[in-house]
C-alpha cells in the first residue's frame, strides 16, 4: 500500500512544483494537477479495495518517529478510504470540469485547489486536534482563494463574509482546543477519548464540537455559506458541498467520540433543526445554486442526525451514514456541475436540459438520489434509519425527518417539473465536452453506488429485480420508434404474466391480470403515437414493474420498494401531460407523504427487524398494532385517493395523456387497494381509543363515494369528471373492504375488475374524443354520435356498466353490495352510500349527453372517428364487459372460494345460471336474455310501425315556432346541473383543497418570513454564529 501520507505529501509537492514551473505552461500545469489527483484517487481506491476485501485492518500512521501525544498521527480505515476516494475523485472531476477556468487563472489557482484537496484529506485522516485546526484553516484560506474562481462579481462579498465567519469559528475552535488540551494533556483525539478525562459537560469539548459543527453550516447560522453556494463557481460549490462537508463530517464524527455519547443529542438536535429548517427555506427559493446550497445544508443536517443517533444504529451506522453521504455527495456534485452548463440562474432556466434526454436522465438520477428513492443508497439508508429509530421509540425525531424529507421532495420535484415542462430556451445551455463527461461520470457513479448499496443491503439488491431491470432496459431502447417499443413492452408484460401465472393466488391473480394483461390492452392504444416518445416507455414500465413486484412482495421492504418504484414511474407518466406540472407535484407529494406514513407504519411493526415479512403483520404487538394499521391505511388511501387526500387525483388524471389516464385510473389506483387488502387480511379489525378503525374507513369510503360523485357531476372537463368518478368508485371499493365480511370483499374485488374495465374504456374514448376535438371541455363538444359511433358505443356501454343498471356488469356489483350490507354492523355510513348511488347518473348522463348527443358544433362537422388504435382496446373492453356481465363467475368464483379461508361466512353459491346468496339470488344470463328479448321485440315493433321515418338534421327541432340560432346556443351543456348545485352544491365546497392549500401556503409564508433572517450582512451572520453557539450551549446545558 502506498502510504496514507501521500494524500498530504503528493498534492503539497505538486502544488509547490506548480509554483516553481515557469509562467505560461498552463497545459503542463494542468496535466500535472490532473495527474496528481488521478493518482490520489487511485491510491484511495486501492486502499478502499484493500479494506473492502478485508486484506488489511485500520492503520495508524505515526509521524515524527514517536507516538502521540508527542507527534501527530493519522489513521486510515475503510470509512477514511472511502472519504478520501470521494474527496479526490470530486477534486479530479472538478479539475476536469474547470479546465478552461484553470487555464485562464493559471498555476496558482491549480495549486490552491490542490492544497484545498490536501487539506480536506488531512481533515479526514488526522487524529490530532491541532492538526485538524491547521487543516481547517488551510481549507478556509484555500476556499477564500477558490471563491475568486467565479465570474460572479458578487462572490467577492460572499467570500469576505465567509472569511469573517471563519474567523469566529477558528477563534472558537482554538479556545476549545487549548482548553481540551488543558484538561486532557494531549491533543490526540483518540488519546482524549481514551483518557476519559473529558467529561460530557466539558465546555471546551463543546466549543470544539460546535466549531466543527459550524463548519457543516448548520441552519440557521449559515447565511454566509449560502451566499458562497450561490455565487461561487459551480465546480467549486460541488467540491464545497460534496467534499468539504464530507470532511467536516468526519471531523465531527471523530470529536463526538471524545464526549462518549454525551454530545450525541446535541448533534441530533442541530441536525434535525438544519434538516427541517433548510428544507423549509428552500421551498421559496428560485435560484438554482442557492437551492442546492440549502439542500446541502439539509443533507448535512440529516447526516448530523445519523451521527447523533450512532448510539442506536450499531452495525448499520456506516451503511446508513455512508449511504446518505454518498447519495448527497454524488447528487449534489452532479447538480452543481449541471448548474455550470446552464446559462441562467432561475430554476425554470434548467428547461434547457430538455435538449437532450440524457441530461434529463442525469438530472432525474440526481434528484431521485437526493430524495432517497429506490434503488439509490439513500433509500436503503433511510429504510434502516427509520426502522432503527422506530425500534428505539424515537418517533418524534422520525416524524420530523420524514416531514423534512417531504419538504425536500416538494422543492426538488417541483424543480424537476419546471424542467420537464415548458418551452426551453435553446441557448440556455453550454455544452463543453469536459463538463458533460464529468456529469456523465457522476451519473455512472450514482448508479454504481446504487448497485453497491444494494449489494450491501440486508434486504437484497433491488437492481436484481427483473421487472425493474426490464423497465430500465427501456432506457437503452429509447432510440427505437414507438411501434417497436410498444410491441416489446406489451410482450414483456404478457411474458412476465405467463411466466408467473402459476405462482399467483386467486387474489393476486385478479390484480396480476389487471396489471399484466390489462396494461398491454391499454398499451395497444399507444400504437397511435408517432416518433419515439422519449420517456414514455421507461416510465410506464417502471410503473408496471412496481405494480408487478408489489403484488408478489413478501417482505415489507420489497413491498415498500415496489411502492416507491411504481410511484416514481407514475409520477413521470403524469408529468408528461400538457399542463400537468402542478398536478404531478401534488401527486408525488401526496404519494411520498403516504409512503412515509407507510414507512413509519412498517418500521413500527417491524420493531427493529430490518427485513420484516408482511405475513408477520398479524403478530404485531397489540400496543402498536392499531397505529401500524392506521399509518399503513392512510398511506394506502392516499393512493386510492380517499376523500381528504384526493386532491392530487383529478388534475393528475385529467391532464395526463390519452393513453396514460386509463393506466393511472384503471390500474395504478388498484395498488392502494391491494395494499389495503393485504393490510386488512393480515391485521383484521383494529381499534384505537375504542374507535373501530374499519368503521372509520367505512365512513371515509362512503364520503369518498358521495363527494366524488357530487364533484364529478359539476365538472365541465370530461376527464376531470371521470377522475372524480374514480374517487367515488374507489370509495365504494374501500367501503366494501371496510365491511370486513365475505361479500364486502367480493364487492371490492368486483369493483376492482369493473372499475378497471369501464374506467379504462371511458378514459380511452374520452381521450380519443378530446384528441379529435382538441378540447376536454364537454360543453364545447356535442352531437358527435354520428361522427364517432364506436367511441359512443364504448361510452354508452361504459356508463350503463358504471351506473349499475342491469343487464351489464355494474349491476353485479350493486347486487353483491346489497347482500354485503345485509350483515353490516354499522348502518349510518350506508345512508351516505345510498345517497351517492343515484348521483352517479348525473355525471354519467352528462358525460354522454354533452359529448355525443345534443348539437354538433360547426368546427366539428368534419371530425373523424378516434384513431384505430384507440378504438381497438375500447372494443375489446366492451367485449370483456359483456363477458363479465354474463359470466361474472369466471373471475369471481375462484376469489369467492379463496376468501372463504379468511371469511368463512357468507359465500355465494354458483349453481347453474343463478348466483345465490344467503339473502337473494341473481341470474345474469337470464336477465340478459329477458331484457334482450323484450328489447328486440319492442324494437322490431317500432321498426314496423315507424318504417317511414324521415331522418332529419340537427336544427329540425321544434323551437317555439322559431329556429335555433347556432349550435353553441342550442346545446344545453354548460353548468348542466345548475339547480342541483343550488341544492347540494355546498357539499362540493373545496374544503379539502383549501385545507391543503392553506398548509402549503403557511409553509411557504413561514419560509418566506424565515429567510428574511438572512439579510445579507456579514456582521449579522457573525451575530448569528455567536448567538448559535451561546443558545446551543444553553439549550444543551439545559437538556443535560
Amino acid at each position: 500500500m502506498v502510504s496514507a501520507l501521500s494524500f498530504i505529501a503528493l498534492p503539497l509537492g505538486t502544488a509547490f512544483t506548480l509554483g516553481l514551473l515557469p509562467q505560461g505552461m498552463q497545459r503542463v500545469n494542468y496535466l500535472l494537477t490532473l495527474l496528481a489527483l488521478a493518482l490520489l484517487s487511485l491510491i484511495a481506491a486501492s486502499w478502499l479495495l484493500a479494506f473492502a476485501a478485508g486484506e488489511i485492518a485500520t492503520q495508524q500512521i505515526f509521524t515524527a518517529g514517536t507516538t502521540p501525544p508527542f507527534s501527530i498521527n493519522l489513521q486510515i480505515g475503510m470509512a477514511e478510504a472511502a472519504g478520501l476516494l470521494l474527496l479526490n475523485l470530486t477534486g479530479l472531476l472538478s479539475v476536469i470540469y474547470l479546465r478552461d477556468t484553470l487555464h485562464q487563472q493559471g498555476a496558482r489557482a491549480m495549486a490552491v485547489l490542490l492544497i484545498f484537496i490536501m487539506a480536506l484529506s488531512g481533515i479526514v485522516l488526522t487524529r490530532d486536534l491541532f492538526n485538524l485546526f491547521v487543516f481547517i484553516e488551510l481549507t478556509t484560506i484555500a476556499t477564500g482563494g477558490l471563491i475568486l474562481l467565479s465570474h460572479d462579481k458578487r462572490a467577492l462579498g460572499a467570500g469576505f463574509k465567509y472569511l469573517v465567519a471563519t474567523q469566529i469559528i477558528s477563534i472558537t475552535l482554538l479556545i476549545g482546543t487549548i482548553f481540551l488540551y488543558h484538561d486532557s494533556g494531549t491533543l490526540n483525539i483518540d488519546g482524549m477519548a481514551a483518557g476519559g478525562l473529558i467529561t460530557g459537560e466539558s465546555l471546551a469539548l463543546f466549543l470544539v464540537l460546535i466549531a466543527l459543527i459550524l463548519e457543516l453550516k448548520p441552519f440557521p447560522a449559515n447565511g454566509w455559506a449560502l451566499d458562497i453556494y450561490e455565487s461561487a463557481h459551480p465546480a467549486f460549490s460541488a467540491i464545497l458541498s460534496a467534499a468539504a462537508a464530507t470532511a467536516a463530517l468526519f471531523a465531527v464524527d471523530r470529536l463526538l467520540l471524545v464526549g462518549s455519547n454525551s454530545w450525541l443529542p446535541l448533534a441530533t438536535a442541530v441536525g434535525v433543526v438544519s434538516f427541517v429548517g433548510a428544507n423549509l427555506l428552500a421551498l421559496v427559493q428560485r435560484n438554482d445554486r442557492r437551492i442546492l446550497g440549502y439542500s446541502s445544508i439539509a443533507q448535512m443536517g440529516l447526516l448530523l442526525v445519523v451521527v447523533g443517533q450512532r448510539d442506536i444504529l450499531g452495525e448499520s451506522y456506516l451503511f446508513i451514514a455512508g449511504g446518505i453521504l454518498l447519495a448527497h455527495a454524488i447528487a449534489k456534485a452532479g447538480l452543481f456541475w449541471l448548474s455550470g452548463i446552464i446559462v441562467a440562474r432561475d430554476l425554470s432556466d434548467w428547461r434547457a436540459l430538455q435538449r437532450n434526454p440524457l441530461y434529463i436522465f442525469a438530472f432525474a438520477t440526481f434528484i431521485a438520489m437526493l430524495v432517497g428513492l429506490p434503488p439509490f443508497p439513500g433509500f436503503y439508508a433511510k429504510w434502516d434509519l427509520v426502522h432503527l429509530l422506530a425500534a428505539h421509540d424515537r418517533i418524534a425525531l422520525l416524524l420530523a425527518l420524514l416531514f423534512a424529507s417531504l419538504l425536500e421532495a416538494l422543492f426538488l420535484f417541483r424543480w424537476f417539473g419546471y424542467v420537464i415542462k415548458g418551452e426551453a430556451n435553446p441557448e440556455g445551455i453550454i455544452c463543453a465536452r469536459n463538463k458533460l463527461g464529468v456529469i456523465a461520470a457522476a451519473t455512472v457513479a450514482a448508479w454504481g453506488v446504487a448497485y453497491l448499496w444494494g449489494e450491501m443491503a440486508l434486504q437484497g439488491n433491488l437492481l436484481y429485480s427483473i421487472p425493474l431491470l426490464a423497465a430500465l432496459a427501456f432506457l437503452l431502447l429509447e432510440w427505437l420508434a414507438v411501434p417497436y417499443k410498444n410491441v416489446l413492452a406489451i410482450s414483456v408484460l404478457l411474458g412476465w404474466f405467463v411466466v408467473n401465472y402459476a405462482d399467483y393466488n386467486p387474489l393476486q391473480l385478479i390484480f396480476a391480470v389487471i396489471i399484466l394483461v390489462g396494461g398491454p390492452l391499454i398499451l395497444l392504444s399507444s400504437f397511435y403515437a408517432r416518433g419515439r416518445r422519449i420517456g414514455f416507455y421507461p416510465a410506464t414500465m417502471l410503473m408496471f414493474a412496481g405494480m408487478a413486484q408489489l403484488i408478489v412482495a413478501k417482505s415489507s421492504f420489497d413491498f415498500f420498494a415496489a411502492w416507491e418504484i411504481l410511484t416514481i414511474g407514475s409520477y413521470y407518466l403524469i408529468l408528461r401531460g400538457k399542463a400537468s406540472e402542478p398536478h404531478a407535484i401534488s401527486y408525488i407529494i401526496f404519494s411520498l407523504g403516504g409512503a412515509f406514513l407507510m414507512l413509519t407504519g412498517f418500521a413500527l411493526a417491524a420493531a427493529g427487524d430490518l427485513n420484516f415479512l408482511l405475513s408477520n403483520l398479524s403478530e404485531v404487538a397489540p400496543a402498536v398494532a392499531p397505529w401500524v394499521f392506521l399509518l399503513l391505511a392512510i398511506g394506502f388511501m392516499t393512493k386510492t385517493a380517499a376523500i381528504g387526500v384526493h386532491i392530487w387525483l383529478p388534475g393528475a388524471h385529467a391532464e395526463a395523456e390519452s393513453d396514460v389516464s386509463p393506466m393511472l385510473s384503471g390500474i395504478l389506483l388498484k395498488a392502494g387497494l391491494f395494499g389495503l387488502m393485504v393490510l386488512m387480511l393480515e391485521m383484521g379489525r383494529q381499534s384505537l381509543y375504542g374507535v373501530d378503525l374499519t368503521h372509520v374507513m367505512l365512513w371515509i369510503g362512503a364520503l369518498s363515494a358521495l363527494l366524488g360523485n357530487l364533484m364529478a357531476a359539476f365538472q365541465e372537463d370530461a376527464k376531470r369528471l371521470l377522475a372524480y368518478s374514480s374517487i367515488a368508485q374507489l370509495g365504494y371499493a374501500l367501503f366494501g373492504l371496510a365491511l370486513m365480511n365475505h361479500l364486502g370483499w367480493l364487492l371490492a374485488l368486483m369493483f376492482v375488475i369493473n372499475h378497471f374495465i369501464y374506467k379504462s374504456m371511458l378514459f380511452l374514448s374520452v381521450g380519443g374524443v378530446a384528441k379529435r376535438t382538441g378540447t376536454r371541455l364537454m360543453y364545447r363538444m356535442g352531437g358527435l354520435i354520428t361522427l364517432m359511433p364506436l367511441s359512443f358505443i364504448a361510452v354508452l356501454i361504459g356508463i350503463i356498466a358504471v351506473s349499475g343498471v342491469p343487464p351489464l356488469s355494474g349491476f353485479g356489483g350493486r347486487w353483491i353490495f346489497y347482500n354485503a350490507i345485509m350483515t353490516a354492523e354499522y348502518r349510518l355510513p350506508l345512508i351516505i352510500i345510498f345517497l351517492a348511488g343515484p348521483i352517479a347518473f348525473l355525471y354519467l348522463f352528462r358525460l354522454i349527453h354533452t359529448i355525443f348527443l345534443g348539437q354538433l358544433k360547426d368546427e366539428h362537422r368534419q371530425l373523424r372517428e378516434a384513431p384505430f388504435w384507440m378504438i381497438l382496446p375500447q372494443m375489446i373492453f366492451v367485449a370483456c364487459l359483456m363477458v363479465f356481465a354474463l359470466v361474472p363467475g369466471l373471475a369471481l368464483k375462484r376469489v369467492d372460494h379463496y376468501l372463504l379461508q379468511y371469511f368463512p361466512e357468507g359465500g355465494l353459491s354458483w349453481d347453474g345460471l343463478t348466483i345465490t346468496s344467503h339473502f337473494g339470488y341473481w341470474s345474469p344470463i337470464s336477465i340478459m336474455v329477458i331484457v334482450g328479448v323484450i328489447f328486440m321485440t319492442l324494437f322490431a315493433w317500432l321498426l314496423f310501425v315507424n318504417r317511414r321515418a324521415q331522418k332529419v338534421k340537427q336544427f329540425n327541432i321544434v323551437f317555439a315556432a322559431e329556429r335555433p340560432f347556432r349550435p353553441e346556443t342550442t346545446h344545453f351543456a354548460w353548468n348542466f346541473f345548475a339547480p342541483y348545485r343550488k341544492a347540494l352544491g355546498f357539499l362540493t365546497e373545496p374544503l379539502v383543497t383549501r385545507f391543503w392549500d392553506a398548509i402549503g401556503e403557511a409553509l411557504h409564508s413561514l419560509a418566506e418570513l424565515l429567510r428574511r433572517f438572512y439579510n445579507g450582512n456579514g456582521q449579522t451572520y457573525s451575530v448569528h454564529l455567536l448567538a448559535f453557539v451561546v443558545i446551543t450551549f444553553l439549550l444543551a446545558r439545559g437538556v443535560s
Binding site: M822, L853, Y980
Partner: protein
C-alpha cells in the same frame, strides 16, 4: 324457480291485464282529478283513443339511432320491471320472470328505461329535453334515497332480498303488513314514491309551461305511443313493488286492482293539492322530510 316456456304466455297475460288496467286506471284518475276541478273529464276510454291515434300517425321523423331507441328502452324498462317482480302472491302463473333476480334487480332495473329515454331525448338535440333530463336526474337522486333506505330496512327486517319471501312474511292479516310492522320505512318509501310519480309537486321535469315538455319534446307518433304504453305500465309495475314490500302484496287480481288503485291515489291526492316545487326545493324537501324516516327505519330494524 327455473325458467319454463309456459312462463312466456303467462307473463304476456300479466302484461295484457296490467296494460288494460293501467289504461283505465289512468283515465279514471284523470277523471278524478278533473272532478276536483269540477270538470267532467275525459272519457274512460280516452287513453285507448290516444294510443291508437299515435300508432296511426303516418309520418314521423328521427334524429338518429339513440333517438329511435329511446322509447324502446323506456318501454323495455317498464315491461321488464313488471315482469321481474311477481305480481300475484302464491300464483305460479303470475310470478312472471322473477326467477331472474330479486328485489335488487327490480330496484336497479327502474333506471334502465330512464337512462335510455334520457339518451334518446338527448339525441334530439333539443335543449328542453336536456334541461328536463337534468331536472329529472337531479330530483331522482334524493327522491330515490328514502325508498332505498326503506327497501334496505325491509330487507333487514325480513332478512331476505327475495320479493316472494318478503310478501310471504307479511301474510296472515293486514297487521302483518310492513305498513304496521315498520311504519317508518313505509313513511319514507311513500314520500319517496311521491317524487317518482311525475305528479305535482314533483313534476318540474315536464313542466309544460316553461320547458314544453321536457325530455319528450321531440317525440311523436309511434315513439310517443310506446312511451304512452310505458306510462300505463310503469307506474303500476312500480306500485307492485311497493305493494309487495309494504302492503302485503296481492293474492288475487281483485285485491291487486284495489291496492294498486289506493297506492296510486296517494300521489294523486297530494298532486291535486300542491303546486310545483323547484328542483332544489324538492331535493331539500326529500332530504329534510323523507330521509329522516328512512334513517330511523334503517336504524330501528
Amino acid at each position: 324457480m327455473q325458467f319454463d316456456w309456459m312462463q312466456i304466455p303467462y307473463s304476456l297475460l300479466t302484461l295484457f291485464i296490467v296494460l288494460n288496467y293501467g289504461m283505465l286506471l289512468n283515465a279514471l284518475i284523470a277523471k278524478i282529478a278533473a272532478r276536483v276541478g269540477r270538470r267532467h273529464g275525459i272519457p274512460i276510454w280516452q287513453n285507448y283513443a290516444d294510443l291508437l291515434k299515435n300508432y296511426g300517425i303516418r309520418s314521423s321523423i328521427t334524429h338518429g339511432v339513440m333517438f329511435y331507441l329511446g322509447p324502446v328502452f323506456r318501454l323495455a324498462g317498464g315491461v321488464g320491471l313488471l315482469l321481474f317482480v311477481p305480481t300475484i302472491f302464491g300464483s305460479e302463473m303470475f310470478s312472471n320472470l322473477s326467477f331472474a333476480g330479486d328485489l335488487i334487480l327490480a330496484l336497479y332495473f327502474v333506471f334502465f328505461g330512464t337512462l335510455g329515454m334520457a339518451l334518446g331525448a338527448g339525441e334530439s338535440g333539443h335543449p328542453h329535453a336536456a334541461i328536463g333530463v337534468s331536472r329529472g336526474l337531479s330530483q331522482v337522486t334524493t327522491a330515490e334515497l328514502p325508498f332505498a333506505l326503506a327497501v334496505f330496512a325491509v330487507a333487514l327486517q325480513y332478512q331476505t332480498l327475495s320479493v316472494t319471501d318478503i310478501v310471504a312474511a307479511q301474510q296472515g292479516g293486514f297487521l302483518n303488513w310492513t305498513l304496521f310492522t315498520n311504519p317508518f320505512a313505509v313513511a319514507a318509501a311513500m314520500l319517496g314514491f311521491l317524487g317518482s310519480m311525475m305528479r305535482p309537486p314533483f313534476d318540474v321535469v315536464l313542466a309544460p309551461q316553461e320547458i314544453p315538455i321536457g325530455p319528450p319534446t321531440e317525440y311523436h307518433s309511434s315513439y310517443l305511443a310506446l312511451m304512452q304504453t310505458n306510462r300505463m305500465i310503469f307506474p303500476i309495475a312500480k306500485i307492485v313493488v311497493y305493494m309487495n314490500l309494504f302492503f302485503g302484496g296481492a293474492a288475487s287480481w281483485p285485491v291487486f286492482f284495489i291496492k294498486v288503485f289506493f297506492i296510486y291515489m296517494v300521489s294523486v291526492l297530494v298532486g291535486v293539492v300542491f303546486p310545483r316545487f323547484h328542483v332544489e326545493q324538492s331535493v331539500r324537501w326529500f332530504l329534510v322530510w323523507a330521509v329522516p324516516f328512512g334513517i330511523i327505519a334503517v336504524l330501528m330494524v
